[in-house]
């Protein structure tokens, strides 16, 4: 008799009243201590009924009242991932770093057309960066020249491409290949490539990755990638109704970018001295001969690829973890509504935030009408009667498109990296290309950079215009409670944290509400704070509460205004607190004594 029965930790949830009763009866029968559990009239049977029914009832209420706090993070992720599969939503997996680059052809490289084959990589201070596509360029002059055509228009991705063992297809409908790799292997979500050598064929063909197979016809060489509940990748092929079905004996070659989540970010010019290495394997060479044959130009080999060097003006982006449970909840419903067709501004914003979360921290989409009414009007309001002729306009990255503007969609995005004020052209192109297949046919995507609005504590001197030039005269003054024994440094640290959290680059939004009331209230809620005032030193005046100056960094004279009440920024404006790293120098803490003259407003 086996007296030890093994169950998974959560097996209890699979029982209902009858099955738990049957299980107990079964076990009691095995133990042979009691016999009467088998007779409906016995006391034992009555007790078992009561216990089983109570269990079932309690489980019912547990299910009804249970919240996510009862489950581990992994369980919640598993659940939400499975749930959204019903909605055909594919959560985004991990995204590695990427960096835009410039390409310089050395003098040794003769004039001509060249191709850097895809998967070529370079090692930068111990971190590998790879090309995910073939880079084609033309060297037009002898001597060392920069290939301006490529300038910042392509990206290098952190990581090395790896070969997955060749998979031989069984030939079933919607055949799915599970990438069984170690948990420690992180794959860049958007860098999985598939090549198929059909049975009876001698050559490899590249298949296209699509968001959903149901959007495609029966003969299309497509596949769908899903980051599943176990945080592994599933690659699904068609069924000859939506996408071509794999035939028995088809060979599948899978290449994935293996990324390092702990890789150190690289700064500008870090690529300068790194050497390129071409990707090399037997299968890759075979595929290369079949797939890349149509490319015009000389493919650079390991020998002459050294005549090419790269450089980067921008730092690398950050590694991004898989889509969080909250994001999946939010995005899956929106994705289901839009069905991979981008129509409303929310559709665009959700799509961009989901797919480019490693590049962008926030995005807003305006149509041409809104753009004219808001952004262009703003430029005229601040006195730029001919904004296209203003030299500073480039600093605000205004795009003046062709005469046909009515169908433009202006996509404002804030880069995720704090070292980068604007997205690099290659990153913008990536976004535009990413939207191309799903956008409304008639829409034209115009990537835009936001107008950064700086904020600081400020009080206007009577009769003078507000200007950031006299910021050093203004402070936030905190008065302590009369009997407080709390150290000034502790109060200062609390306020500093509060402001840093309120105006955090990661959570700030385009078109954000600058909630001055909330800020004042939160400061007053800090222990030992009795009063919050904004103080101006040269005029010795103060005002109760927080008073902020908001100004355009490039047009401080034309656009600076003081606010003591909440202000909703326009959609193209993004708030940045001035010199937030040194915010403590802008705050003074007073003991509860002394009088200050009231300012006139």
């Amino acid at each position: 008799m086996n007296k030890e029965v093994s169950y998974n930790k959560n097996s209890y949830i699979t029982f209902d009243a009858t099955s738990i009763r049957d299980l107990i009866i079964n076990r009691l029968n095995q133990s042979k201590i009691f016999t009467d559990q088998n007779y409906q009239g016995s006391n034992m049977s009555a007790f078992l009924d009561v216990i089983s029914y109570s269990f079932s009832t309690l489980l019912y209420y547990l299910n009804k009242t249970s919240s996510e706090s009862l489950f581990s993070e992994t369980q919640i992720y598993e659940n939400i991932n499975r749930l959204v599969k019903i909605l055909n939503y594919n959560p985004v997996g991990r995204l590695g770093q990427s960096v835009p680059f410039r390409l310089i052809a050395r003098a040794n490289l003769p004039i001509g057309n060249y191709v850097i084959p895809r998967f070529t990589y370079m090692n930068v201070g111990g971190t590998n960066y790879s090309f995910n596509k073939d880079i084609q360029f033309y060297k037009s002059e002898s001597g060392e020249i920069e290939i301006t055509d490529l300038e910042n228009k392509n990206l290098l991705y952190q990581g090395l491409f790896q070969e997955y063992p060749t998979y031989n297809a069984i030939g079933i409908e919607n055949e799915t290949v599970y990438l069984s790799l170690l948990e420690s292997v992180y794959i860049d979500h958007f860098n999985i490539f598939i090549f198929v050598k059909e049975s009876g064929s001698d050559s490899w063909v590249e298949w296209e990755r699509v968001p959903e197979t149901f959007l495609y016809g029966p003969n299309e060489n497509i596949f769908q990638v899903r980051f599943n509940e176990n945080k592994r990748y599933e690659i699904k092929f068609g069924d000859d109704i939506n996408g071509k079905k794999l035939k028995e004996g088809d060979q599948i070659a899978i290449y994935y970018l293996n990324i390092d989540k702990d890789a150190v970010n690289i700064g500008p010019n870090a690529l300068t001295n790194a050497k390129l290495t071409t990707y090399n394997s037997l299968r890759y060479s075979e595929i290369f001969d079949d797939v890349f044959i149509e490319i015009l130009g000389n493919v650079l080999t390991q020998q002459n690829i050294q005549f090419v060097r790269l450089n980067n003006d921008y730092p690398s982006t950050f590694y991004t973890d898989e889509e969080s449970v909250d994001n999946i909840k939010n995005n899956s419903a929106k994705n289901f509504r839009s069905q991979y067709r981008l129509v409303t501004s929310t559709d665009y914003e959700t799509y961009i935030k989901t797919n480019f979360s490693n590049l962008i921290t926030d995005v807003k989409v305006l149509n041409n009408d809104d753009y004219l009414r808001k952004h262009i009007k703003y430029l005229y309001n601040i006195g730029l009667n001919e904004p296209q002729k203003d030299d500073k306009i480039l600093l605000n990255q205004i795009k003046f498109a062709d005469s046909c503007n009515f169908n433009n969609l202006y996509v404002y995005h804030v880069p995720k990296s704090e070292l980068q004020n604007y997205l690099a052209p290659a990153q913008k192109e990536l976004v535009v290309n990413g939207l191309r297949n799903n956008k409304t046919l008639t829409s034209e995507i115009v990537p835009m950079d936001p107008v950064y609005i700086y904020l600081d504590f400020y009080l206007t001197a009577s009769g003078q215009d507000a200007t950031p030039n006299d910021l050093d005269q203004c402070f936030l003054v905190i008065t302590k409670l009369p009997n407080s024994r709390r150290a000034n440094s502790a109060i200062l640290a609390d306020i500093e944290n509060l402001i840093k959290n309120t105006f955090n680059r990661k959570t700030n939004k385009l078109g954000q509400l600058i909630d001055i009331y909330q800020l004042s209230t939160s400061i007053l809620n800090i222990e030992s704070v009795a009063r919050v005032q904004t103080y101006r030193k040269d005029t010795d005046t103060y005002i109760e509460g927080v008073s902020l100056l908001l100004w355009n960094y490039y047009y401080p004279l034309a656009d600076s205004e003081v606010y003591t009440q909440n202000i909703q920024l326009e959609d193209f404006k993004y708030p940045i607190f001035n010199n937030i790293g040194n915010i403590s120098s802008r705050i003074k803490i007073n003991e509860p004594s002394g009088t200050i003259k009231v300012a006139d407003f």
Binding site: K3, E4, V5, S6, Y7, N8, K9, S11, A17, T18, R21, R27, L28, Q30, S31, I33, F34, T35, D36, Y39, Q40, G41, S42, N43, M44, A46, F47, D49, V50, S52, Y53
Partner: protein, 168 residues
């Protein structure tokens, strides 16, 4: 993996008693049927001779007592009362608002016979004697049955009162 250790269910046996001597061990006849006692009282002592072993195990009813438990439960339970088996129980109460006469007495006898056949296969009904007692508003039932396993006969007296009360 969670483990369910069924050893916890095994009560200490005489042979495991620290006071028992293997050469003196008496092999008691093991019961055929074992049921829990309804009030779940603790078994105070088990063991042999002058050396009882105090146990924290539940008191149990064995063999004939176990079967009697079952019969009592059948007649004390109305259909629908047993949570996970609504078909279990007798429906004697259905007759208690009917006239007390020989016709319904026959019906009661049939019901008792059917119930026992259905829910208690360990006994065989030998005879059911029902006496209508109109003056007391009750039936007096004498049930004679045999324990199949033990080849013994027994009598169960049931008083079914008009108003729903059944005394066994």
């Amino acid at each position: 993996m969670a483990k369910i250790d069924l050893n916890n269910l095994i009560r200490p046996k005489e042979v495991n008693s620290p006071f028992s001597v293997p050469s003196q061990r008496v092999d008691k006849e093991l019961p055929v049927y074992t049921d829990l006692h309804l009030d779940l009282k603790i078994q105070e002592n088990i063991g042999i001779g002058n050396f009882p072993v105090v146990s924290n195990d539940l008191y149990v009813n064995n063999d004939i007592e176990a079967i009697k438990n079952s019969l009592r439960n059948i007649f004390n339970t109305r259909k629908g009362q047993k949570i996970l088996n609504p078909e279990f129980g007798s429906s004697l109460e259905q007759f208690l608002f009917e006239p007390i006469n020989a016709f319904y007495a026959k019906a009661i006898a049939d019901t008792i016979s059917d119930n026992i056949t259905q829910f208690e296969p360990r006994v065989e009904v030998l005879k059911i004697q029902i006496t209508p007692q109109p003056d007391e508003n009750q039936y007096y039932v004498i049930l004679i049955y045999r324990f199949l396993e033990f080849k013994k006969e027994n009598i169960l007296n049931i008083i079914a009162k008009q108003g729903g009360e059944i005394l066994i």
